[in-house]
């Protein structure tokens, strides 16, 4: 730890800050204490520094408390989980549709025309709905001015 004599102006200067922050060696603390006992200027400055420190410690410098940040982190987790969920759902749906189409094409005689129409209608409907939602989301993403606004 550094040791420091008085400043050129005869005062202890930045040692005052070290003193109120308890960052000085015992020797330095003793020197500051002795100096302040006989120097009204440094004694007054130390009082002012202490008051300002208390004032800052008690101030509200951020308008977002720990609940806000906890919720912010929860949102991140939810978004990540949702992303994985969508990925799994989409992957499963594509594989399922592929298997279904393959089954229909590879064994045409095992299904009646009606069954083929029903299965084709279900898969075709799902596909159309998916494309429609996807298109709508993409359009909204491009044109929504408020997409980055968090509610």
């Amino acid at each position: 730890m550094m040791t420091k004599e008085l400043n050129d102006d005869g005062h202890v200067g930045d040692l005052l800050s070290g003193y109120i922050d308890n960052e000085l060696t015992q020797q330095e603390q003793q020197r500051v204490r002795l100096h302040c006992d006989s120097c009204p200027d440094c004694s007054r400055q130390m009082t002012e520094l202490r008051e300002m420190r208390v004032r800052i410690g008690a101030a509200t410098l951020s308008n977002r408390d720990h609940d806000f940040w906890r919720e912010d982190m929860d949102d991140m987790t939810v978004k990540a989980t949702r992303g994985i969920g969508w990925l799994l759902l989409l992957g499963g749906a594509i594989i399922g549709a592929g298997v279904g189409v393959y089954e229909i094409l590879s064994s045409p005689s095992s299904l009646s025309l009606l069954e083929k129409l029903v299965v084709g209608g279900v898969y075709g409907g799902l596909l159309l709905i998916f494309i429609s939602v996807l298109r709508q989301r993409l359009v909204e993403r491009k044109s929504d001015r408020y997409k980055d606004v968090e509610i």
């Binding site: 550094m2 200067g13 930045d14 040692l15 005052l16 800050s17 070290g18 922050d21 960052e23 400055q45 002012e48 520094l49 300002m52 420190r53 004032r55 800052i56 410690g57 101030a59 509200t60 410098l61 951020s62 308008n63 977002r64 408390d65 720990h66 609940d67 806000f68 940040w69 906890r70 912010d72 982190m73 991140m76 987790t77």
Partner: protein, 166 residues
Amino acid sequence: MMLNTHQIQHDLALLGGGAHALAIQILGNAEDAADAVHDALEKVLRAPGAYRPEQGPFKPWFLRVVRNRCIDLLRQRRPVDNRSDEIADAAADPAREAEIADRDRVLQLALASLDSDQRQIIVLRDYMDLTYAEIAAVLDTAPGTVMSRLHRARVNLGKAYREYDD
């Protein structure tokens, strides 16, 4: 030893307000500062193993991540887009003014009159209660310079506070 995710989230939530206060001193407005803290939280949660206890305490490490993110955002801003005056200007906004108690308003005006480095060091010490060694780690500066820089900042803040308080 590695901290578990639950513990990290708990610690990060407690640090969020202080980190936000620090980011405001660097970026000059609360919204950008919130974005910077959000990005830092996301980065830490994505790779919690990036923090190793042997590097030192978690608090200064996270604040350094936040500060680095703020510096990145400052670099991305257009050169003419200097919004540091918004800290002081915020007091002129009636809605905002109503929210801030008079004492805090004077303090924020006084803080805004300092340069960014001085604001940061005061927030780190007096608002977040970091030691000089921890402050040096966050600001990436020599520990021996912290006391003199902090003292200069406090003296300037005191002068500014008295001016605005009159």
